[in-house]
């Protein structure tokens, strides 16, 4: 029980550190520049600006991204890309849902993870 409380506390602390800059800061990716759909679309995974892996959108994979503060579980399935799980406290990245068009991305701010379809 004690352990659990600690974990929760830590997470909150991290979140406050990372999100207090702009009170109403939002990372909604409602809109994006539509790129040209090509036959070889790739899904590029970055952590803190560094490309850590990339996949074809044709792949059907599960991949654990080791982010800055925790991990994000990436899945590519039927040419759609989404996160099924994340360690971050806000879960905005998971709530983003699926992406499938060139130019779209999923962002996890606490973990500094950027997943882009290129």
């Amino acid at each position: 029980m004690k352990k659990l409380v600690n974990v929760v506390k830590d997470k909150k602390a991290d979140f406050i550190l990372l999100s207090g800059l702009f009170g109403l800061g939002v990372i909604f990716l409602f809109i994006f520049l539509v790129g040209k759909n090509t036959s070889s679309q790739s899904v590029v995974v970055q952590v803190d600006g560094e490309v850590v892996n990339s996949f074809s959108i044709e792949d059907n994979i599960s991949y654990t991204i080791e982010g800055k503060q925790g991990s994000n579980e990436l899945r590519i399935e039927n040419k759609k890309v989404y996160l099924i799980h994340a360690d971050c406290p806000d879960k905005l990245c998971v709530n983003t849902g699926k992406i499938q068009y060139v130019g779209q991305s999923i962002i996890c701010l606490p973990n500094k993870v950027v997943i882009e379809i290129k």
């Binding site: 800061g25 409602f30 539509v34």
Partner: protein, 348 residues
Amino acid sequence: MFDIRKMEIKRKISVYIALCFIVTLVGCKKEADVKKEYSQGVFAMDTYMTLTAYGEKGEEGVNEAIEEIQRLEQLWAVTSTTGEVSQINKNGSGEISQDTIEIVEKAQEIMEDTQGAFDITIYPLMELWGFTTGNYQVPKEEERNERLALVCGENIVLNKEDKTLTLEMGQKIDFGGIAKGYTSGKIMDMWREKGITSGIVSLGGNVQVLGTKPDGTLWKIGVKKPGDTEGNLLGILSVSDCAVITSGGYERYFEEDGVSYHHILDTDTGAPADSGLISVTIVSRDGALADGLSTALFTMGKEDAITYWKEHKQEFEAVLVEESGEIWITEGLEDKFSTEESYQIIEE
């Protein structure tokens, strides 16, 4: 009769000449370095931003823009101890620089025009609901009303001569609802001054474009279907030289006792806006205006939003989506919006 034919020929010749001219221009463009692309991503202002500029000055333009973003972030971040906004929130007043004067003026203008539907003094309420920290809670009505009394942008005093901003006791400000739009607009101005003719910034989903794409075609901006987790699009906006900014309550929210509470608060009730709209997209040449209006129209609801557009239709166009899924677009977007969904057009 003869005259008409002569005119016809003359017209044909002039069209021909004009065409040659355009072809030559396009030819020149391609030969020059217009297509060189420089792109960079950066975490700032609580979001992830991507900047892309084309041409010889592209790289310089993007790097200068990132420096500017970081400077403004420092100035306006509510948690930055040295920033102007945090100092003002702490002390009730403080000195401000030119950018802060400009953004406050713009915010006041939008606030007046929307009769307070957009208000930078809503911060104490955002704090109460926990949207600033993630410690979400549904506040009691008394608490809400207490904080609501502080939400009144009319009470903040901007003194341009002394370069100071003064709040009333207990008030706090935050530029989160306008800063990204202001910043993207400023980047466009910076790039224009450098002679860059083509570029795009996406500041956490707030998109603003400069000119057209380097090949002269319009930028295609995808708008996600609100509430849809399968990744379907609401539609595509084909635009040049403007900002496209969407507000929706369907990503940042929390749930308590089976009720979900989103982050766009109504300045009348102090509770999440429940106006019947689930998404508002604003298209405008003015980034700060688009940012502020996307929030304001979201809280207003469809009828008031339509009335507002009719009174200000020189300034912006909008796409409204209702909870029922019905889509409404203002008439200026008719030839810019493409979608597989059915929609209705708002005419004057």
